[in-house]
Symmetry: C2
Subunit: 324 residues, 2 copies
């Protein structure tokens, strides 16, 4: 089966929102009047962002999820995406499963495939996603102000816990592994929350490389610092959701590392003025997504994590760096 | 040097046309009123689309050129692009040269880098490019009509001639090799011509996989066939530009194969009604790009190549298929 047949068979669909979809030299998008187009590209490499042999259905989901998470961090509504795919071989069953995972998430968000490229090569998935956001209302990294609260959505550290287990560095009970693995392989982009936070949050970012590293980007862009209260950080992990206490299995330092710098969370971190607490709670409720206040923005640059006694922790770990 | 430093050092620049560039979760684009956004993604893989060890300056040029060529085929004006890059190592000199080649072409077209991703992995370059086109005026593959002329811009087959030489299958005199290699490694996207053909051409496509294969896409999209006059096809190759007659070096079948199905030309093939011949000539003149009429669209489906005597040629070669 040739390249073009492959694309047509698994990925070509009529479009409803784009002016022109897959099948010509370009796709055509027409943002509605008063809207800007938010654009983000992420590249996923086998062995780096996912294990060789990972379930292609989960991979299809995750490849789009990490991009939708960027739209969420801007408060944008998903519109369309392009998919560029390098494959070591043209495996029909693999492509069918990948497309199933991809379209499952895409359809849930009304996000259409409008174009892309397929070629032979070491497995590599590059998605560019497009969303609409009212002009001037996108959430940026640069708006955090001293006195603002720092929030995170959902739970943190689960994906890293799964990664540590799958790589054989820790042992997890089967139920906990299954739940954590779901978070690693099928992250939930916080698209509804991001849109609800427009006009409420002063800054936002999505957590891909770990909380501390990603919040560091917000601090640099905003010219500010932060004090994070870590007295209950090990409870941020989704242990309650699993019905199993991860904190009874692991020492606090390990859990703290998963939570603060684990990476692959695809939750939102955002700031908002103290006066906006009720609006944040309302946005979380409307989006059906839990949020948690974990600290405050300060004018002094730097990232301070303090324990229950107010003592600053010295942290040996940093966020994940692909070239570290 | 860390991932984020690398990006900042070589690729981060202020934007002039986009609402927000590199450095946040998303870039923000705002097409002008009355404009649609044309979008195209291409992925280039080492060993497949370029040789290992190729000059990174040329690679930076080509990675963007193949995308700009898609915009040209739609008649769109380049606006911005994202760059996703997987690199086996973070080599500063390589990145500097790659960025030089990339920005050289980008700046010539006023096309801004607005975002992307960098990761470790087998060398892979995925660019998504954005252009503006007046609503409803994009050139499509689907508009060819029986009786239309079929044109190509520039010269065909040079890139394939260089590829054959670089892979040791043919020998070329140094001056011819240098000229052909320039066409392979630094193709010229026909951006100005594409824009001039709006309202003139009835269909267009850019030639990446070879003339016959790519024109085949136009025919399928348009529900038509074509008769191509190959009596002088071996003269379509840029021999005159080199001051050397390729036709004196090679047999006609080999040259015909380079021209008709060589690939990597990044010229435009387009159709226009016979009544529009003066307008086509005017567009070519304005864009300072040679065009050549090579055949006519017919209502009978299929692709017919005839020689000087009008006899239909039986062609053993097809267009390049990445999964063939």
């Amino acid at each position: 089966m040739g390249e073009f047949d492959l694309i047509a068979r698994h990925f070509k669909r009529p479009v409803r929102r784009a002016a022109l979809g897959v099948g010509d030299d370009c796709a055509l998008l027409a943002p509605r009047p008063g809207m800007q187009l938010a654009v983000s590209s992420d590249m996923l490499v086998e062995g780096r962002h996912f294990f060789a042999g990972v379930d292609p259905d989960a991979l299809g989901h995750k490849a789009l999820a990490v991009n939708l998470s960027d739209l969420a961090a801007c408060g944008a509504e998903p519109l369309a995406f392009t998919l560029a795919l390098a494959l070591p071989s043209a495996d029909d069953a693999w492509l069918a499963a990948f497309a199933r995972g991809l379209y499952g998430l895409a359809d849930a968000h009304g996000c259409e495939l409008v174009g892309g490229d397929t070629t032979r090569g070491p497995l590599n998935i590059c998605i560019t996603v497009f969303g609409e956001v009212p002009t001037g209302q996108a959430l940026l990294r640069s708006g955090a102000q001293a006195g603002d609260d720092l929030y995170v959505s959902g739970t943190l550290g689960d994906a890293r816990l799964a990664l540590e287990a799958l790589q054989g560095r820790v042992a997890l009970p089967p139920a906990l592994l299954a739940a954590a693995r779901q978070r690693l392989e099928r992250p939930t982009p916080r698209v509804a929350l991001g849109q609800r936070l427009r006009g409420v949050a002063s800054s936002a970012i999505d957590l891909s490389d770990g909380l501390l590293g990603d919040v560091g980007h917000v601090l640099r862009a905003s010219g500010a610092g932060v004090r994070i209260q870590a007295k209950d950080a090990s409870e941020w992990i989704a242990e309650n959701a699993y019905g199993i206490s991860a904190s009874s299995l692991f020492d606090q330092d390990f859990l703290l590392q998963c939570v603060l710098s684990g990476g692959d969370d695809y939750e939102l971190a955002f700031t908002a003025p103290a006066a906006a607490r009720a609006k944040v709670a309302e946005a979380a409720l409307q989006a059906n997504t839990a949020v948690r206040c974990i600290g405050q923005i300060e004018s002094a640059p730097g990232l301070r994590v303090v324990d229950a006694t107010g003592r600053e922790l010295t942290l040996p770990f940093l966020s994940f760096d692909h070239f570290a």
